[in-house]
């Protein structure tokens, strides 16, 4: 079944405590190449049928109204997952998802 990915990141001006903790810990494990880390969220929404424009529009709306809080977060990406894209056409009325 096709999936839509929604990526949400903390706004650049908001301090990200988790990212800060990670950037502090990385060098201790020998990872010295990174000067900053920010931790956001990735949602994968499973779609029953084909990903129509209407469905993508729903995903975009859900992303801004519920999956993110505009005061502290930005939606940085909403897209159909590439690896599912080939299935998409074939997907049709497949059986229901496991997670409902």
């Amino acid at each position: 079944m096709p999936r839509i990915v929604v990526d949400v990141m903390p706004k650049p001006e908001i301090l990200d405590p988790q990212g800060k903790a990670i950037v502090g810990a990385l060098p201790r494990l020998g990872f010295t190449a990174f000067s900053g880390v920010r931790q956001g969220k990735r949602f994968e929404l499973t779609v029953e049928g084909p990903v129509t424009d209407e469905v993508l529009e729903q995903a975009r709306n859900a992303a801004t109204t519920m999956l993110s809080n505009p005061v502290i977060e930005d939606v940085v990406n909403v897209e159909v997952l590439a690896e599912d894209a080939e299935d998409t056409a074939a997907a049709g009325a497949a059986a229901a998802g496991a997670e409902a």
Binding site: A95, A96, A98, E99, A100
Partner: protein, 771 residues
């Protein structure tokens, strides 16, 4: 929703099993021994189906069947006296024991282990440990009201310890805090013997009205069987998933998560939803799903009830539609319950589910056939006598013998060892020793841990860490409440498991009495190495015997508990660690005694109850010097009873304002903790004590003699208090006074220890290692 009947399985039916007796079954991979498999064939009169094999294998595992420990645990029942049974409403054998508190109130509590899962995945292992024990409490018809967490970790400076401490503490908090259950106590102990075998024990306590008591039985022919809560996934079946062969079909994914992920939100909703069911009397019997999942719930409900049950397995709501019937039966998915509902209550039951948005599915009904019949799309895949699954599993009389090394260990006393040479004796040396002791991993301040736990939620917590017992109000009208403590000293139990287990009970009993509660009931979690090692088995047998004997003397019954075996790496077992929880009752929690003196206690007299002997073997002081040998402190259970009675009466009659028992670290630890509790100093002198008991100052400070407690007595109560102790013939001695102006612990003629210095040393240790 997927209807599973549409799925293609090559189902191994009972009929098929009858026709194919020669089929190879993976009984060994499922952990069954050959004799056990043969026993199953004998019981059934044919080979088991794959689903039956799944059920027997999980239900006959050590964890579910207690096959190695059963013969010993019997003593808890055999040694019950009439006195001990008086307030026991439900004893060992049910999900948790229930004790009558009077006024129509009852309390249920139990401690359980989640050791191994917590080593593999500390956060989820510890979280689901809390989740599991809380479901046991719900299934008695009770509202869970608090949790506790006795923990054991490896050496504090071992590289893996921080991972475990962070994950486990975070997991316990993450789950317990989200359930709205205050954490009212526990233990944090570091010892290299627990390096790859950390102990995560979790205790939950719940309260109920007598009429809400529920048991795990399926009674009433025609009553419905319902499964509700989370969906069933592949959790806890294990990577092996040998049951893939059950379907004789190798196209299915064989990856099954051994790790269970907890969903505290789902459990919180489950709690409220169950309480609503109990209140409206909508369930007849109820059972939580923990280890062995549906196998356990169906077979236990059936064998405790009318004896028969019929269940259609394709009705189970799944998270993972590829699960085979055997896997569904074994799955340990969390946050599920099974209940028995009268047909006339079905509609009302469904309304409650709808209100809380909890998914449920009707699986079948109670029958009087004496058989547990499980079908898959109408075809019978299980047809067993449920008792043979749930209660009549194998019982082993495992060989045991006293370890040969024990004589040598017991002969190696601290005083005779190199570690016991050059003991502190000058005031400066003693002061330094107290600071070192109070900063040591086991004696240091634990608030780095306990601050991550909500101890206020519910508004009924009257005492919690760092006091001796957690105290919870049960009835807001009367103040009726309970106090609970958990204790164990693995080093004592290593030196002498019989006495060690008794010492754990005695300490817990003393802690509860010190807080002012009358001890009533016991729960225990017996953490040991492999039962297949006769020396470990001997430790286990001795510990159980010791505990059962001591319960009889103290007059309080074990009402439930848990056994955790195989806590060992290679041939090295952990110290025997019998964690004992004691529950006591308050008529009014307003009378509970805190473990330190307050700012308004100036001039109150500080008394020591009990006798101090030269007992340093197995002590924290010896541990500081890396020594473990000799015999643990002597225990006089009659003296403990008297001490308990004195402390409870003193609390009830307002004769003491603060009390703290003496245990690890002895008097040095007790005085330090009492002063630090509210940051109020004291002046004491040990001269009289040393003279009376014939010990030196070092021994007076660091000996771990039992049967002792320090109390603070208001001036107006001194005469009464002394009279009470003397009347009971209990040694009592005045050590000094609370001094609000002194900002130190002043041991006169020896040293003066500024509280700030002491606090800094005491509080720095855990943050230093764990951030």
């Amino acid at each position: 929703m997927t209807t599973q009947s549409a799925r293609k399985f090559n189902i191994d039916t009972v009929e098929h099993a009858g026709q194919t007796p020669e089929t190879d079954l993976p009984w060994a991979e499922l952990g069954l021994k050959e004799n056990e498999f043969e026993e199953i064939v004998k019981l059934l009169g044919r080979r088991p189906t794959a689903a039956e094999l799944a059920m027997y294998s999980v239900m006959w595992s050590e964890h579910c069947s207690y096959k190695s420990s059963k013969v010993h645990l019997r003593q808890f029942g055999e040694k019950l006296t009439e006195e001990m049974k008086k307030d026991m409403m439900v004893g060992i054998g049910e999900n948790a024991g229930v004790t009558d508190l009077g006024d129509g109130w009852a309390v249920t509590f139990k401690v359980e282990s989640h050791n191994h899962p917590s080593f593999v995945e500390p956060y989820q292992g510890a979280a689901t440990g809390i989740g599991g024990i809380v479901r046991d409490i719900i299934s008695m018809g009770a509202r869970p009201v608090a949790v506790m967490d006795p923990l054991r970790f490896g050496a504090i400076d071992h590289p893996d310890t921080a991972r475990l401490v962070h994950g486990i503490v975070h997991g316990i908090g993450g789950y317990g805090n989200s359930l709205g259950l205050p954490n009212i106590g526990g233990e944090v102990v570091f010892d290299s013997v627990y390096q790859a075998n950390p102990l995560v024990n979790a205790l939950a306590v719940g309260v109920l009205r007598h009429e809400d008591l529920r048991l795990a039985n399926a009674s009433g022919v025609g009553n419905k069987v319902v499964l509700f809560g989370a969906r069933t996934g592949g959790d806890g079946i294990g990577g092996a998933s040998v049951l893939a062969s059950e379907s004789f079909d190798d196209t299915k994914p064989s990856k099954r998560p051994a790790v269970q992920v907890g969903d505290p939100f789902a459990e919180k909703v489950l709690i409220e939803c169950c309480l609503e069911l109990f209140k409206a009397s909508l369930v007849e019997g109820i059972q939580d799903l923990g280890a062995a999942g549906i196998s356990c719930a169906t077979s236990e409900l059936a064998s405790n009830g009318e004896g028969g049950m019929q269940v259609e397995l394709t009705s189970v709501l799944l998270r993972d539609p590829t699960l085979t019937p055997g896997e569904i039966l074994m799955s340990e998915s969390q946050e599920r319950m099974m209940a028995i509902v009268r047909p006339e209550n079905v509609e009302a039951f469904e309304k409650v589910m709808e209100k809380w948005a909890v998914e449920h599915s009707w699986l079948g009904e109670v029958t009087d056939t004496g058989r547990l019949i499980i079908t898959w799309d109408g075809e019978t895949i299980v047809d067993v006598d449920p008792r043979t699954v749930a209660h009549e599993g194998p019982v082993y009389h495992r060989p045991y013998h006293r370890p040969e090394w024990l004589d040598g260990v017991q002969a190696d006393t601290f005083r005779s060892s190199a570690a016991g040479a050059s003991l502190p004796s000058s005031g400066e040396e003693l002061k330094a020793a107290v600071l070192t002791l109070m900063a040591s991993p086991n004696m240091c301040d634990k608030s780095w841990v306990t601050r991550q736990y909500d101890n206020y939620v519910g508004g009924n917590t009257a005492l919690s860490a760092p006091d001796d017992a957690g105290v919870i109000r049960v009835d807001e009208e009367t103040g009726l409440g309970v106090g609970i403590s958990t204790d164990a000293n693995g080093r004592y139990a290593y030196l002498d498991p019989y006495t060690g287990a008794q010492l754990a009970l005695a300490e817990s009993y003393r802690n509860v009495a010190t807080s002012g509660a009358v001890p009533m009931a016991v729960t225990d979690c017996l953490n040991f190495g492999s039962p297949e090692d006769p020396e470990v088995m001997w430790q286990f047998a001795e510990a159980v015997r010791g505990l059962a004997d001591a319960c009889q003397t103290l007059g309080i019954p074990v009402t439930g508990g848990n056994v955790s075996l195989y806590n060992q790496t290679g041939t090295t077992a952990i110290h025997p660690t019998p964690v004992v929880g004691v529950l006591g009752k308050f008529d009014d929690v307003a009378r509970r005694t805190p473990s330190g003196w307050r700012k308004d206690a100036d001039g109150q007299a500080i008394y020591l109850l009990g006798t101090t002997r030269d007992e340093l073997d197995g002590s924290e002081f010896a541990n500081l010097r890396g020594h473990l040998g000799g015999l643990p402190p002597k225990l006089d259970l009659e003296a403990e009873k008297t001490l308990g009675a004195i402390l409870v009466n003193a609390s009830r009659d307002g004769m003491v304002d603060a009390a703290h028992d003496l245990s690890e670290g002895g008097l040095a630890a007790a005085l330090s903790e009492m002063a630090l509790r509210f940051g109020v100093g004291a002046r004491v002198s040990l001269d009289e004590l040393c003279e009376r008991d014939g010990v030196d100052v070092f021994t007076a400070l660091f000996s771990e003699s039992q049967g002792r407690a320090v109390v603070a007595v208001p001036r107006s109560e001194e005469v009464r208090f002394n009279d009470m102790a003397t009347a009971r013939n209990y040694p009592v001695i005045r050590l000094g006074v609370v001094d609000v102006l002194a900002t130190s612990l002043d041991v006169q003629g020896q040293f003066e220890l500024p509280l700030e210095t002491l606090r800094e040393a005491h509080e720095a240790t855990l943050p230093k290692y764990f951030g």
